[in-house]
Symmetry: C2
Subunit: 263 residues, 2 copies
DNA sequence: GATGAAATGTTGCAAACCGCACAGAAGAAT
DNA sequence: ATTCTTCTGTGCGGTTTGCAACATTTCATC
């Protein structure tokens, strides 16, 4: 109803919203009261603007204002089902414990590997990490003793990650002790990935690492994404929050892959 | 009074504050009520944490929560005057107008080039941008029609940028229509940079671009950073918010460099 | 275990914010 | 000019947050 092709929208509202968006690209947070003062409109109007932008997914709402959209939606939007989050956090912590001081790593982008990065950053295990994920780099970048190397590539805004041939070629030029990757699904055929362009990156990490750890929560078991990443046998271990069904478990064990259950 | 070298601070508080900082690396805003729930402490305690972190200049306070300090620190807290900010914004807008559809660009990390990026993102001029700055990539990554390529390199957390030999080598492999770079200072000897490791990146961009634009606000005139980036003559134009003094202006003109004054 | 400092929780009240409903204002289309 | 739609402002009750003072707990140290 708002986007009739022929109509020229009014200036006022769109201009304001546009300014709000611009502002939020510069600073992470704006206050409704400030905006109201600046545009000389009522707080209610700004509230409606912010509400609208938020509904369009362009910004995140906050009490008293609005904030830029999170680079990575980390605890997804299911706040209450935070179970998922804490399970991923447990997986991340378990995986972080695998890292020995001085090691070199490759880390995938994704919410589960981000949890890993957060725990590794907290542990401050001295190591070197190569990653294509912005959130992972930012999480690790503040930790003392952790060197972070970022991959080149085409920037994928929706996932805040670099992908593509540049990324793959860069990874192929490196060799590390371990890699930590996520996946959209895990079956007896191996991990698979739903997001276009990610499978190749994960594959490149698997190739370049002596040990490969797959970080997946129980929700991934039995699901299959669009692209096959690699056969199960390519993995060293699967880090998860619960043992898979006996079929999948059997396939994993037969492929000589360890299973580590967090907590 | 907080940093006695010998004393070992308690765990609880620091752990919490650290997690808050970590969280703010990933999302721009956290709510006090959420944090209180997550850490199972009273909102007052979180409020004190946030207050403390804010006093240390590590985060920005907001009603109901806290927000990350912009990846690249933006100047002052004076909202309305915001002179520096709006001047940089004007420079950014002016520079964004230089970009023609279909061009290829290299863009430096930094607060002024970030302003450029956000205006380019808003204009949605179709183009391809190579950048080493995370904030620049994230700003441009939301825009339709703009392809963003990120550089590899060592991640510098304090500036959210990639630097080092990998970055330089990557840039050297590319050739673009224009580059947009910032600087810590500008004198008759040319632009200079205060942050270690940045000068080499800027130099590589200058080498790889047919046209080179330096984006600087008036505060940079006459200042000189640690590393010389390049001679004035290497630039195509200087985009600034006010004409430099006659001496500097003369040097710029003699070097056959254009001066574009925003607004 | 006693002691004291720091951290945390609790309470009460003021201020800021939210959301709704309705009315007025500004444009667009007829 | 008129109608109609969309946008904006105002008022008000309800909720959340902020802030300060005080009570309580925790922890290190003796």
């Amino acid at each position: 109803m708002a986007n009739d092709l022929g109509t020229v929208p009014r200036l006022r509202k769109d201009e304001r919203r546009r300014q709000i968006l611009l502002e939020l690209r510069l600073r992470p947070h704006v206050r409704i009261s400030d905006l109201s003062e600046r545009f000389r409109v009522s707080t209610e109007t700004i509230r409606r603007d912010v509400e609208g932008l938020s509904a369009d997914g362009l910004i995140d709402r906050a009490h008293g204002g609005a904030s830029a959209r999170a680079a990575v939606r980390y605890p997804t939007f299911d706040e209450r089902a935070g179970a998922q989050v804490s399970e991923r956090a447990r997986i991340g912590r378990r995986a972080a414990a695998l890292v020995q001081p001085g090691e070199t790593l490759m880390v995938d982008s994704g919410s589960t590997t981000l949890q890993f990065a957060r725990h590794l950053a907290f542990a401050e295990t001295p190591c070197t990490v190569i990653t294509n994920g912005f959130a992972v780099a930012m999480a690790l970048g503040q930790a003392e003793g952790i060197e972070v190397v970022v991959c080149p590539g085409d920037y994928l805004g929706s996932e805040a990650a670099a992908i593509g041939t540049e990324t793959v070629a860069f990874l192929a030029r490196h060799r590390v002790d371990r890699c930590m990757i996520g996946a959209s699904g895990l079956t007896a055929d191996g991990p698979s990935e739903a997001i276009r362009g990610f499978a190749a990156v994960k594959r490149a990490m698997l190739e370049g690492a002596r040990a490969a750890h797959l970080l997946v929560d129980r929700g991934k078991f039995g699901h299959e994404g669009l692209s096959r990443v690699a056969p199960l046998s390519r993995l060293t271990s699967v880090v998860c929050d619960r043992l898979p069904d006996s079929d999948l478990r059997h396939a994993i064990v037969m492929a000589d892959v360890d299973i580590a259950v967090a907590d």
